[in-house]
Symmetry: C2
Subunit: 447 residues, 2 copies
C-alpha cells in the first residue's frame, strides 16, 4: 500500500498499518495446520509481512464437525467469505477442479491474491488463472502444489530465471515412492504393499490418482510449464503408473545395480533441425543405485534440475503431510502479504517460449525388457535381429534359468521410444518368445 517500508525490521514502528485479511478454503490436514501456524506465529508473521495477518474465516463443507478453531470463523459459504472487503488473500486448500476453479477466479477478479496447493487445477487451468491474476495485478502463488515443503517452484521461476533449464526429473509422489521403496526392501508384491500403505495412511481409499500416476503427471505439467516457459497441461504428459511393477522387477533391477522409481520427467528436446520441444512424462523407471534419486525412499520427495549453467541441482525433503505442505503455503502467503503491504508482485505464468510438446514416440529412451523364451539355440540371435532391424542398439543381455523357466533380459541403448516399443511388439509376435513379462524404461544414465 504505502510501498515505502521495505525492511521488515522497520515496521515495528508502523502500527497504524491495515491488517492483511486471509480467507482459508478447506480445513483438512493442511488447512488446519495453516490456521494453527497463523495463530501461533502471529508476532513473527506481523514482523515479516509488515502488517498483522488476520484470519477472516475458514470455509468448510461440514459445519457440524468439531474443529480446533472458533466456531465464529467457520462458514460453509466460501463465495461470501472471499467476497468480503477485508479479505486480501485467499488460501485455497479444497483440492479438485470444482468449485475451486470458480472460487479462485472470482477471488482474483475481485483483486484478492491467491495461494493454492491445488495441483490438479493448476495442471489444467494455470493459463486462465494467471491471466485473471495479471489482469487484476495480484499474486497467484502455488509452491505447495509440487513436492510439499520443498522449494522447487520458486527456485525454477526465480533463481534459475537467468539460466536455461534442460531437464527436471523428480520423485514427486509420496504414495508410490513409499510402495516402491517397501517392495524393494521387503520383496513383497504390489498388491500387498499397496494394502499396507493404505493401513499406514500412505495411500488413500481410492489410490488411483497416486498409483496410476495422475498426481505425478499434474506436477510434471506444472514443472514443465515453468521450466520451459511454455504451457504444458496434464493432457500433454505421457503417463504410466506403477500397478504393473512386480517384485521380480525390483529383484531384476538390482542385478543391473538399479532400483525402480516413479519419475516425473520434464525435458527440453533438441531436435536435429535446431528446433526445440518439450517432453513431459511419468513412468516407473530403473535408475542406477548411484543416481541421487535412488536413495530417496519412503514418503520423501526430491527433484533434480539440470540447467545449462547451474549444472545439476537437487532439492530434497518432505513432499506431503499437513505441516510441511502448510510451510510452503505460508511462505507463499507471507510473500503475497508483503507484496500487498510494500507494493510489487511476484512473477506469474511465463509462456513466451511456446515450445510444442514432443510425443513420447519421439523421445529418446532406454528400455529394460524381460521375457520368457523357448530354451533352444538361436533365440538370442533372433531377438537381437528385431532390435537391429529398428536401429535399436543393445547395451546388455542376461540369459537366466533353463527349460520352461528360460528367461532373457535385454537392456537397450538410447533410441526413439517408438522404435523401442516397436521392438517390444515384434518380440511379442515371435514364436521363440513365450511372454514379454516386463517392460520398463531406464533413466539417469549418460549413454
Amino acid at each position: 500500500m504505502t510501498g515505502s517500508v521495505q525492511n521488515a525490521s522497520d515496521t515495528s514502528e508502523v502500527n497504524a498499518v491495515r491488517p492483511i485479511g486471509v480467507a482459508v478454503l478447506g480445513m483438512g490436514n493442511v488447512g488446519a495446520e495453516v490456521v494453527r501456524i497463523i495463530t501461533d506465529n502471529a508476532d513473527d508473521l506481523r514482523a515479516r509481512v509488515g502488517a498483522p495477518v488476520e484470519i477472516r474465516g475458514v470455509a468448510v463443507r461440514d459445519l457440524s464437525r468439531p474443529r480446533k478453531i472458533g466456531q465464529e470463523l467457520l462458514t460453509d459459504d466460501p463465495a461470501s467469505l472471499i467476497a468480503r472487503d477485508d479479505v486480501d488473500i485467499v488460501v485455497e486448500l479444497m483440492g479438485g477442479i470444482d468449485p475451486a476453479r470458480a472460487l479462485i477466479r472470482t477471488a482474483l477478479e475481485s483483486g484478492k491474491s491467491v495461494v493454492t496447493a491445488n495441483k490438479a487445477l493448476l495442471a489444467e487451468y494455470t493459463g486462465e488463472l494467471a491471466s485473471a491474476a495479471a489482469e487484476a495485478k495480484v499474486d497467484l502463488y502455488f509452491e505447495a502444489a509440487v513436492a510439499g515443503a520443498i522449494p522447487v517452484i520458486r527456485p525454477l521461476m526465480q533463481s534459475l530465471a537467468g539460466d536455461t533449464v534442460e531437464r527436471v526429473a523428480g520423485i514427486v509422489n509420496g504414495t508410490t515412492n513409499f510402495i516402491l521403496s517397501e517392495m524393494d526392501e521387503t520383496g513383497a508384491d504390489y498388491a500387498d504393499t499397496l494394502a499396507e500403505a493404505g493401513r499406514l495412511g500412505y495411500a488413500e481409499a481410492d489410490p488411483t490418482a497416486d498409483v496410476e500416476g495422475y498426481d505425478a503427471a499434474a506436477k510434471a505439467a506444472i514443472l514443465a510449464s515453468i521450466a520451459f516457459h511454455s504451457r504444458v497441461t496434464a493432457a500433454d504428459v505421457h503417463r504410466e503408473g506403477i500397478s504393473s511393477v512386480t517384485a521380480a522387477d525390483l529383484v531384476a533391477a538390482k542385478k543391473f545395480d538399479c532400483t525402480i522409481k516413479l519419475l516425473s520427467i520434464c525435458e527440453r528436446v533438441r531436435d536435429v533441425d535446431g528446433s526445440q520441444r518439450v517432453s513431459a512424462r511419468v513412468y516407473p523407471a530403473l535408475i542406477p543405485l548411484t543416481h541421487p534419486l535412488a536413495t530417496v525412499n519412503g514418503a520423501f520427495n526430491a527433484v533434480v534440475v539440470e540447467a545449462e549453467n547451474a549444472g545439476r541441482l537437487m532439492f530434497y525433503g518432505q513432499g506431503a503431510g499437513g505441516s510441511p505442505t502448510a510451510s510452503a503455503v505460508l511462505g507463499d502467503m507471507v510473500m503475497a502479504a508483503r507484496n500487498r503491504v510494500h507494493g510489487g508482485r511476484g512473477p506469474l505464468e511465463s509462456t513466451y517460449a511456446s515450445l510444442p510438446i514432443a510425443p513420447i514416440d519421439d523421445v529418446f529412451t532406454r528400455y529394460y525388457i524381460s521375457m520368457r523364451v523357448a530354451d533352444r539355440p538361436g533365440v538370442l540371435a533372433q531377438v537381437a535381429g528385431e532390435f537391429t532391424k529398428r536401429s535399436v542398439s543393445i547395451a546388455a543381455v542376461r540369459q537366466e534359468g533353463a527349460g520352461d523357466d528360460a528367461r532373457l533380459i535385454v537392456v537397450t541403448h538410447r533410441a526413439p521410444d517408438r522404435a523401442q516399443s516397436d521392438c517390444v511388439a515384434a518380440l511379442e509376435d515371435m514364436d521363440a518368445v513365450i511372454k514379454v513379462s516386463s517392460v520398463l524404461r531406464l533413466e539417469g544414465t549418460d549413454d
Copy 2:
C-alpha cells in the same frame, strides 16, 4: 515503471519499453560468464524481464588484458560507469571489501539495484547496504554469495518465510570439501592434498581464506542472519579450519561409521529460561556416513535446513565455478530487472528478531577426542573421572594399540562446549595422558 505488464509472455507486444542497463564490476571467471550469458541469451532475458537487458559497461582493473568483449565496453573507472543515467542494475563481482563497499553504496544511493556475490562484504556490511537499498527503494540481491548455483538465500528468505528455522548446516566451501574428500579417499595427508588441490585449481595460491574457514564463516554469518531474522556478522561466527585434520583422523572417523566435513552451522539455541539465541560456527566435524551431508564430495556444496513445519530440506549442487555462480547472479539480475519493469521489490534484510549470539562455550556439542596414553591399568578410570567431574557423559570408548602406541579414543554425549573443552584441558594436564592428538566435534546425530 508501468507496473501494468505482469505476464512476461505479454511483453512481446511492448516494444517501446525502456531497456534495462546493466553495469558489471569485475571480469574474472564469474564476470566473464555473466557477460557471455547476457549476450548469448538476449532474447530469453528480454522475454523474462519484459524489456531488453543491455550491458552498459564492464569495469576491470587491467584494460590491456585481452577479453572476450568489445573494447568499447571496458573501463577501469567503475565509479563513472555506475553513475551513468542508463545504468539500472549494478552487478558487483570484484570481491573484497574495498572498493566494492563504497561502489555498492553509491549505486544504491543513486537508485540502482545491486546484485552481488561478495560474501566477505555481506558478512560485515549487509546492514549498511540493506539500509541504503531500503532508503532508495531498490533491490539488493545476493543469491550467489552462498553455495554458488544452489538456491538457498531465496528459499530461506521467501519459501520459508512462514516457518520457524531451527538449524542450517552446510558444506559451503568447495576447496576444503575437495581436500577432505580426497584425504578420505586416498589416505594422503593434509599438506600433500592441499598441494594437489592447488595444482588442480581447487585451491588458490594463498588458501588461507578457504582452509582456515574464513570463507565458510562469512557464509554462515549470511545464512544465520536470514534464517533467524537477526544481524549476524563474520565476527560472531566461531571458526576453526581444517589444517589440523590428519589422515589418521579420517581413518579413526571411519571406525565410528563417520566421515569428516567442514561444516557451517547456524542454530537457534533455545535456553532453559525460554529465551533464544543464535549460534553460528564453522569447524571440521565427524558426521555419520548415513547423514545426507556425508555423501557430498569433491567441490560440491549442500545445505540442510531444518524448520519447525517443513522438516528437513536439503539443497545440493555446484557451489563454485564461473558458470554455476553466474547462473545465480543472473537469476537475481532477472528478478531485479523485472521489479524495475513491473514495479515492486524483493525482500531486504529482516532483523526484527534481534536474537543475541550464543558463544561457542554455551552451545551443546559432542566431542571426539583421541589421545596417546600410558599403557597401564587404571588410565581409563582416571580419564573417565575427568569427564564425570564436569558432567560430560561418555558415549563410546576405544582402546587401541599397546605400549608406546597405546591410544584411547573417547566420544562424548551432548554437553556445553565449555565443559567439553575443559575436559580436554584437564586431559592434557594428566600424567597418564602422553598427548591429546586430536579433538574434533561430532555433528549430525540425534543424541
